[in-house]
Every structure is written in structure tokens, then in C-alpha cells.
């Protein structure tokens, strides 16, 4: 019984390990803007140190990717980071022709939490759609 209590007790605390990425198309400059919302303590743990622009963009580029409908990777540029409360808002942009058919991969924090879930929201063509990523998922296309 003591062993059972020890094992179960070690599984305590269960925060939601989730990020939310919003994709928006900017007609003005023909780019897709990705805004990634991530909890600051989770992101700090993933970076294994302080959250600086260079550390954040390096980590993001290894875990977040966009490709056009043919599978050609889009080159992303860093557009900054801001914080509200416990949440960080990370921004990347990439030149694209639109959101429809865009291939997305979001693997943030999968190396950190087994129960990590990453949600992607995109609004275009008068509707909002969502993708859900769990560990091991391949890139997914927006409809």
C-alpha cells in the first residue's frame, strides 16, 4: 500500500500543458503572422534558461514550421515577444499567398511534457478553423 501511495502521489498536480497559436493573413504585406501563446514558466523550462529573443526564436524555429500547400517550407522572420501575466506572446511572420492549404507543424514543448497539446486557430474566408497537435503528430494542412 505504501508503494501504491508513493507512485500515485508522485503524479500529483496536473496543470494544462497547452499552447495556442493564432494564424492571421496580412493582406497589406502578403504575410502570415503566427502568434504563439505559451505559459512563461513552461517556455522558460523548455529553453532551460532566461527567455531572450535569440533563445526564443531558435527554439521556435526548431518546433514550429509553416509550408505552402506543395510542402515548400516558408521562411519565418521574428516579430517580437511580449508578456501579459503568466503568458508569453511570440510572433513569427512568413511571406505566403494565403492561409488555405497552408501546412503547419507545432511541436512546442513535446520534448518537455508527455501530455502537451498545441492548438492552432486560423480565421480566413469568413470562418475559423482549428488544428490540434499532440506528440508525434506530422504536419497538418489548413482546409
Amino acid at each position: 500500500m505504501r508503494a501504491l501511495v508513493a507512485v500515485l502521489g508522485g503524479l500529483a498536480l496536473h496543470p494544462l500543458h497547452t499552447t495556442l497559436t493564432q494564424l492571421a493573413y496580412r493582406d497589406a504585406d502578403g504575410t502570415v503572422e503566427a502568434t504563439v501563446r505559451v505559459f512563461a514558466d513552461d517556455f522558460r523550462a523548455a529553453l532551460k534558461g532566461e527567455v531572450t529573443d535569440s533563445a526564443a526564436v531558435t527554439y521556435l524555429r526548431s518546433t514550429f514550421a509553416l509550408a505552402d500547400p506543395t510542402g515548400r517550407p516558408l521562411v519565418t522572420t521574428w516579430c517580437g515577444i511580449r508578456r501579459t501575466g503568466d503568458l508569453l506572446w511570440l510572433c513569427l511572420r512568413a511571406a505566403a499567398h494565403g492561409l488555405s492549404g497552408l501546412r503547419v507543424r507545432v511541436a512546442l514543448l513535446f520534448d518537455r511534457y508527455a501530455d502537451q497539446i498545441n492548438i492552432v486557430q486560423a480565421t480566413y474566408g469568413g470562418r475559423r478553423t482549428a488544428l490540434l497537435f499532440t506528440s508525434g503528430d506530422a504536419p497538418k494542412s489548413l482546409p
Binding site: A12, L13, H14, L16, T18, D115, I117, I119
Partner: protein, 200 residues
């Protein structure tokens, strides 16, 4: 996947994840006193729990209610311990207050506490668009709880069979053994969490 389905999946996975042991053990503690034929009672209790946490979740994520995270994280295991204690001190539910029919009420009240546990995460993440995530997450939680409840019922039936074979008891005798065993283990685990999370 539609947006609603995404949030239902989020809630479902959250409650059925093995790392969600605090929620799972609370459901086990609630279910511990019921036999398979009492499935309606256990469904009422779990639904009352869902109603409770939905109310707090809605109040907290919309900012109508602000709750200190540390206190809530301490109170969650306290509710589990309290459920186990109630299991242990009421051996005969027919002679208990209201014939033991108060359980959905206290499951609902404890649900208020558990809902506050989710609230801070959802409020921060979906700060500008909370209605659909909140609804979907709650539906997912309810569906996940039904799955956990079904698994709990199967595991408790196996435990009954084991106790019956080991002790040559039957009926109420086996049920009481099961209630004591499950409640004791779950109470010890939750007590440890309560001590670890104590804000005092």
C-alpha cells in the same frame, strides 16, 4: 477538426490523462461506494461534479470570481480526503442523512473547487475568446469523466471479486472491504498532496 471538437478533445484528454491523477482519484473516491447496479447514482454524482466545476470555471474565466491559485491547489486534495472520509464513516447509506442522497450535493460543491483549478489556465490562454473553449472543454471533461467512471466500475468489480475469493465474504461485506481499501489508499495520496500544496 472543428474548433469545438478541438476544445472537446482538450477537455477529454485533460481528464483521461494518467497524469491527471488528482481528478481520476477523486472520481474513484466518488465511485467507490457504488456497485454496477447503482450506475444511475454514480452518474448523478459525477454529473453534479461537472455542474459544480462548470459554474466556477465560467465565473472564474470571465473574471466574475478571482480565486488564489495556491489555495485552490490545496483545496482540491482536501476535497478528495473529505470524500474518502465520508466513504469511511458512513457504513450504511440507508441510515445516513436523506438516505445518503446528499452525495450529488457535496459532489457539486467539491466540483466548485475543482473548476477553479482549471480556470486560471483557460483564462490566461483564451483571454479574448473564452466562450467556445469553455463550453468545449467542459463537454470534453464530462465525456472523459464517463470513461473514467466506466473504467473505475470495471476495476472495482475486479477488486470485489478478488476480495470475495480471498475472504469468502459476499454482498455488503465485500462492498465494505472495497470501500475501506480504496478510500484508505486514495485518502493517503490526497493527504500527501494537501501537505505538499499547503499555503499555510
Amino acid at each position: 477538426m472543428s474548433e469545438l471538437a478541438t476544445y472537446i478533445t482538450l477537455g477529454f484528454r485533460h481528464i483521461t490523462d494518467l497524469e491527471a491523477m488528482d481528478h481520476i482519484l477523486f472520481l474513484f473516491a466518488l465511485a467507490a461506494i457504488y456497485r454496477l447496479r447503482d450506475w444511475r447514482d454514480s452518474l448523478w454524482v459525477v454529473t453534479a461534479f461537472t455542474v459544480g466545476h462548470s459554474v466556477t470555471l465560467a465565473l472564474a474565466v470571465t473574471g466574475a470570481l478571482v480565486l488564489p491559485t495556491r489555495l485552490i491547489e490545496f483545496l482540491i486534495p482536501v476535497t478528495i480526503v473529505a470524500t474518502c472520509v465520508e466513504n469511511l464513516v458512513v457504513p450504511d447509506r440507508r441510515r445516513a442523512l436523506w438516505g445518503g442522497r446528499y452525495r450529488p450535493v457535496f459532489a457539486g460543491v467539491f466540483g466548485l473547487v475543482h473548476g477553479a483549478g482549471f480556470a486560471n489556465y483557460l483564462r490566461n490562454l483564451f483571454v479574448d475568446q473564452i466562450a467556445l473553449p469553455l463550453f468545449g472543454f467542459n463537454v470534453g471533461i464530462e465525456l472523459g469523466q464517463l470513461v473514467v467512471l466506466a473504467i473505475a466500475a470495471a476495476m472495482l468489480a475486479v477488486l470485489d471479486r478478488t476480495f470475495a475469493l480471498a475472504t469468502a465474504r459476499a454482498g455488503q461485506g465485500v462492498l465494505r472491504l472495497r470501500v475501506v481499501a480504496v478510500s484508505a489508499v486514495v485518502a493517503c495520496v490526497a493527504l500527501r498532496w494537501a501537505v505538499e500544496r499547503s499555503p499555510f
